[in-house]
């Protein structure tokens, strides 16, 4: 009886929610393995007649998708490095120093997150064009790293807060300067934090669309922009599209599942503290 109540009251509803959460993703993957006869057939067959790799092969051989993957990878990796380089010292300052304006600055970084992307992307387009950076890796790396900076700093600060300040002081008594402390004491201890923040930065950059569309798109074309352009063509080739979607979704999903607990901790820590 108790078992039945658990099943009906909890497990069945949870299964329904999971089905809702996972079905579109699974349907996309399944579609990418189905032959064209299946995909262009109405009424739709839910159970596939056959499975095939033709769309994945065509995607890699006949489109520029490999180049797009490379561009996305370069941009995301660059955004991770630049983002960490900016966030780590800032987070150390927020965590270890009490200085006038500290609170206001922390709030300012959060307010920045509130500005609509449209508000930023229009003038950034003009700035990048003036600097001759339009359609380069650097433009996207700078855009992505800066836009994700507030959350990166927030998360990083909570990691450094978790390292006892006594360690800094002990090292300084032994004659280390602050910069040496940061490099030799904090940096090795904060590696898990760097990994979590780095993965967050990577996913955010990998998934981003509007900057990638506006500030680049011709020489440097990331996967999100490339996929959207597949849709724009006259006849939508769903096999290619779902294959591309499956390939692009994979790294983000895997990375997200790896660090979800840490990201969520940082996120909700922020939400609870307000």
């Amino acid at each position: 009886m108790k078992r039945l109540r658990l099943l009906l009251g909890t497990e069945v509803p949870v299964a329904c929610i999971l089905a809702f959460a996972l079905f579109p993703w699974l349907w996309m993957m399944l579609s990418s393995f189905r032959p064209d006869e299946d995909l262009t057939r109405s009424p739709v067959r839910i159970i596939p007649g056959a499975l095939t790799l033709v769309h994945h092969i065509e995607l890699l051989q006949r489109t520029s998708f490999l180049d797009n993957l490379r561009d996305s990878f370069v941009v995301a990796t660059g955004a991770v490095m630049l983002g960490l380089l900016l966030a780590l010292p800032a987070a150390y300052a927020f965590s270890r120093f009490r200085f006038p304006g500290r609170r206001a600055l922390r709030v300012q970084f959060l307010v920045v997150n509130m500005f609509p992307v449209v508000l930023l992307v229009l003038p950034l387009f003009i700035v990048m064009r003036t600097l001759g950076l339009l359609d380069t890796y650097l433009a996207l790396i700078m855009g992505h790293a800066t836009f994700t900076l507030p959350f990166a700093i927030w998360l990083m600060t909570s990691y450094i807060d978790g390292i006892p300040g006594d360690l800094d002081e002990a090292a300084m008594i032994d004659g280390a300067t602050r910069m040496q402390v940061l490099r030799m004491v904090i940096l090795p201890l904060v590696v898990p934090g760097l990994v979590a923040v780095g993965i967050y930065l990577f996913i955010a950059s990998w998934n981003e669309y509007l900057f990638a569309l506006m500030l680049a798109g011709r020489n440097v074309r990331t996967v999100t922009v490339a996929l959207q352009m597949f849709i724009g063509e006259n006849e939508i080739h769903w096999g290619l599209l779902t294959a591309g979607g499956t390939v692009v979704a994979l790294p983000a999903t895997v990375l997200f599942l790896l660090v979800q607990r840490r990201l969520v901790g940082g996120l909700t820590g922020g939400a609870v503290k307000g």
């Binding site: 739709v44 509130m114 003009i126 800066t146 669309y209 999903t253 996120l267 909700t268 939400a271």
Partner: protein
């Protein structure tokens, strides 16, 4: 050493501040400035100052009012549905059952996907001829005939809202779940001793315990949903006609396709001011509650 000590935090913050000033604050100022000018993209040399003319034009622009209305529907429907579904999922996932860990991990999947792919998947599933949803709907007798969800003005908004609810509900699940775990068990025990039933303990223990998390999560999500345009851009481009054109999308389209930067900037500024007023109201209220 003393001087270095005082300057050091600023030195450490300098790179992050410089990047923010250069790539966020300067562009925001630039947008404000552009919104006071008549800026046409392919005419870069001449940008006459027009004062508030762009803002005044906006008042007489029926497309602006329509996008504003669409934005209101979009934000209210998307955020409330995400919240309700997310809360339900969080309450369920807070109970004890064997495969809870896996369920908690998998429910997050939609959140990890790029908006472009989410738009693509839902466009595929909602397709008139080949979409699985029409197929299942017809077969189960829920629909008389397939519906071109994204091509009909009366259903397009509901379709994009469905997609954004799917994308966003895990955010609520995850934050509310963390909030639920932060409510001390003793509170529930005390309520049970006082004879509170399930509903009463939800109302008097769970909800008050979650209130701060709910408020912050709603605020963050509202800002995000109000600003987001990529999902709509991918699925309908604002169409059919202007049925799904929200304010940020209208600003984007006017600035980009219409090449009218001045007017697009004015629209973006208005959107930001509206959001800012919500945030300030929230901040003032929560500050008052804290001091009370």
């Amino acid at each position: 050493m003393k001087v270095e000590g005082r300057a050091l935090p600023w030195l450490l913050l300098a790179p992050a501040l410089a990047a923010t000033v250069l790539l966020v604050l300067a562009p925001v100022m630039e947008t404000l400035w552009l919104s006071l000018h008549d800026v046409i993209l392919y005419r870069p040399r001449s940008r006459p100052f027009v004062g508030l003319a762009n803002y005044l034009a906006l008042l007489d622009d029926p497309a602006f009012w329509e996008s504003l209305g669409n934005s209101v529907i979009w934000v209210i429907a998307a955020v409330s549905l995400q919240f309700l579904l997310g809360l339900g999922a969080a309450l369920l996932l807070n109970r004890q059952f064997a495969w809870r860990g896996i369920a908690r991990a998998l429910v997050i999947v939609p959140w990890a996907l790029p908006s472009v792919i989410i738009g693509l998947v839902w466009t595929w599933m909602l397709d008139f001829n080949l979409g699985i949803l029409n197929q299942v709907g017809v077969r189960l007798g829920l629909l008389d005939a397939p519906v071109a969800w994204l091509a009909r003005p009366d259903t397009a908004m509901a379709a994009v809202i469905l997609a954004v609810v799917w994308q966003g509900f895990p955010f609520f699940t995850v934050t509310l779940l963390a909030g639920l775990q932060g409510i001390p068990r003793e509170h529930y025990e005390a309520a049970a001793i006082d004879g509170a039933g399930r509903f009463a303990s939800f109302r008097h223990v769970t909800l008050p315990g979650l209130a701060p998390v709910i408020a912050t999560a709603l605020l963050l999500r509202m800002i995000w949903v109000a600003n987001s345009l990529d999902l709509i851009l991918v699925m309908t481009g604002g169409g059919p006609g202007t049925a799904t054109q929200t304010l940020p999308l209208y600003a984007f389209l006017r600035a980009w396709s219409g090449a009218n930067y001045g007017y697009g900037s004015a629209l973006a500024v208005v959107l930001t001011l509206m959001l800012l007023s919500v945030v300030v109201t929230y901040a003032v209220r929560s500050a008052r509650e804290r001091s009370a």
